[in-house]
């Protein structure tokens, strides 16, 4: 218990003693974690938008005359990637056309007998599955023709994949960057206390006892950096969303405050974990050498 108290007290002292370095480290960690937080939100929003657009992506399968629509819909539903199907009868197709025409609905009467073919509207799980599914449906005997937004689906799929890959690369780079900064700060602290550590080891300090203040110093810096980053991300996100909604009213963004709390929790956990690992690595070898006899 006394050792834990000592470790926290001394860890705090290290932060205060090297206050310039501590501020620099906190600032750098904050910048790195801000990038992590902002890019995470960016990627989440891209995926949210893509998922909304994917919901609107459909395959229209036009059927040959006289085909049992329900039976065909059932057959299409059996495909693995199909989320749902909807039977569009000739009547429903005409109804939709009327709705779409609005005040020009009179034009429908010029068509005479309803010329619109029945079809089955198919939704898939992901945009990337649209083309393949369309091909599978197209080769079915009862299907006359298939219409789908192939290029749009592929682009959406690419955007979604790129966002995912981008976030992974960014996370790895940001983690490494914050780890290196924290590692160097702790290393400098360790070397500044080289003499002290040697004396501590000589009077019977265990390696854990010597290492703990440095680990706590690193933890405090990483934690503070991540916490500040979260506050800044939270502060800027909602105002950015308001502006984006004005500029891009056709897009929907994530606005749940709970998402931010989760992101904050993730950032602080990441900050603490990265700083703990970096501190342990920075201090471990030095203490091992200090304890090693000649």
């Amino acid at each position: 218990m006394a050792s834990a108290r000592y470790a926290f007290r001394d860890g705090w002292r290290l932060v205060v003693r090297h206050w310039g370095l501590s501020l620099l480290t906190i600032f750098t960690a904050m910048a790195v974690f801000y990038v992590i937080g902002a890019s995470t939100l960016f990627v989440m929003n891209v995926r949210h938008i893509v998922s909304k657009l994917e919901d609107q992506l459909t395959i229209q399968a036009y059927v040959k005359p006289g085909v049992d629509l329900d039976a065909l819909a059932k057959k299409i539903s059996a495909l693995e990637e199909v989320r749902d199907t909807k039977v569009i009868t000739k009547e429903l197709a005409l109804e939709r056309l009327r709705t779409r025409l609005g005040n020009q609905v009179e034009a429908v009467s010029l068509l005479g007998e309803n010329p619109l073919p029945p079809s089955i509207e198919v939704r898939v799980d992901k945009a990337s599955q649209v083309s393949n599914t369309a091909l599978k449906i197209d080769v079915m005997d009862d299907v006359d023709d298939v219409v789908f937004a192939g290029p749009v689906a592929e682009k959406l799929s690419k955007v979604s994949n790129f966002a995912g890959q981008f976030s992974v690369v960014l996370l790895v780079v940001a983690f490494l960057a914050s780890g290196v900064v924290l590692f160097n700060t702790i290393r400098i602290s360790v070397y500044s206390r080289e003499e002290e550590i040697n004396v501590m080891v000589m009077v019977g300090a265990t390696s854990t006892y010597v290492a703990m203040p440095f680990v706590i110093q690193g933890f405090l810096l990483g934690f503070a950096g991540a916490l500040l980053a979260f506050l800044f991300v939270g502060g800027t996100y909602f105002s950015a969303i308001v502006k984006l909604k004005d500029m891009l009213p056709f897009l929907t963004f994530i606005e749940s405050p709970q998402l931010l709390y989760k992101l904050g929790f993730m950032l602080v956990c990441c900050g603490a974990t990265v700083s703990l690992i970096a501190s342990l690595l920075a201090v471990e070898k030095f203490i091992k050498n200090a304890m090693e006899p000649l």
């Binding site: 000592y6 000589m202 009077v203 019977g204 300090a205 265990t206 000649l294």
Partner: protein
């Protein structure tokens, strides 16, 4: 705490023989002077006893601890049982006099109350209580040496290793330090003191071990500094 060295040899790279075939037996409660010219191996011998240095050959046993095979954690516990007064004091400049003494007790896991009480008492014993809030650079050489002694004895060690504890001190201060060490020994602590001071060795007669070029060349009860008794 007794101390035993059996055939201890230390060769530093490439081939500097610091100690050669040293056999020693020091009983609990003894006061032993370690004499010899500079570079004879006194400090290496002490560093072998604290296990800062591992002998190339031979074994060292201190109070039941076999130092060659001691594990890292046990080494820390062993070092809590001994006190070391370093030649250069090795005080921590960023800590006050009181904190310098307290941190040895903190390492042992004592409560803050007990730590403060014992450290304060030790500072009073060495006459530094009024200097408790000063930092080592603000203390005189003699005061720093007394502080180093306070730190070395605050954990009531069974063995105290003092490497030139009166070196660089004026005669009056050196004598104060010597009196302090004698009183610590009188309380039962085994003391091994490396010194170049013939006055103390000849005035306060105890066992004298002389080292020359890494070998024990004299081991004498109530001996004198010089083998021929000329000093």
């Amino acid at each position: 705490m007794d101390l035993q060295l059996s055939g201890v040899t230390k060769i530093f790279e490439p081939d500097i023989v610091a100690l050669e075939d040293v056999y020693l037996q020091i009983e609990s409660g003894e006061f032993v002077y370690l004499v010899g010219e500079t570079g004879s191996g006194k400090t290496t011998l002490m560093r072998c006893v604290t296990r800062e240095v591992v002998p190339t050959r031979g074994h060292i046993s201190v109070g039941g601890y076999m130092l060659r095979k001691i594990k890292r954690y046990d080494l820390a516990l062993f070092r809590r049982d001994i006190g070391v007064i370093f030649q250069d004091f090795a005080l921590l400049p960023n800590l006050t006099a009181l904190e310098n003494v307290k941190f040895v007790l903190e390492i042992m896991g004592l409560s803050p109350k007990e730590t403060t009480e014992r450290a304060s008492e030790e500072l009073k014993n060495v006459g530094l209580w009024r200097r408790r809030d000063m930092y080592p650079p603000q203390l005189s050489g003699g005061e720093q040496q007394r502080l180093a002694i306070a730190r070395a004895i605050v954990n009531t060690p069974a063995l105290l290793l003092a490497d030139e504890p009166t070196g660089n001190l004026d005669p009056s201060t050196a004598d104060e330090i010597m009196q302090l060490l004698l009183s610590i020994n009188a309380a039962g602590t085994t003391i091994l003191m490396a010194t170049h001071n013939p006055h103390f060795v000849d005035t306060y007669r105890h066992r004298v071990i002389e080292i020359h070029r890494g070998r024990v060349v004299r081991d004498e009860e109530k001996g004198r500094f010089d083998a021929n008794g000329l000093c």
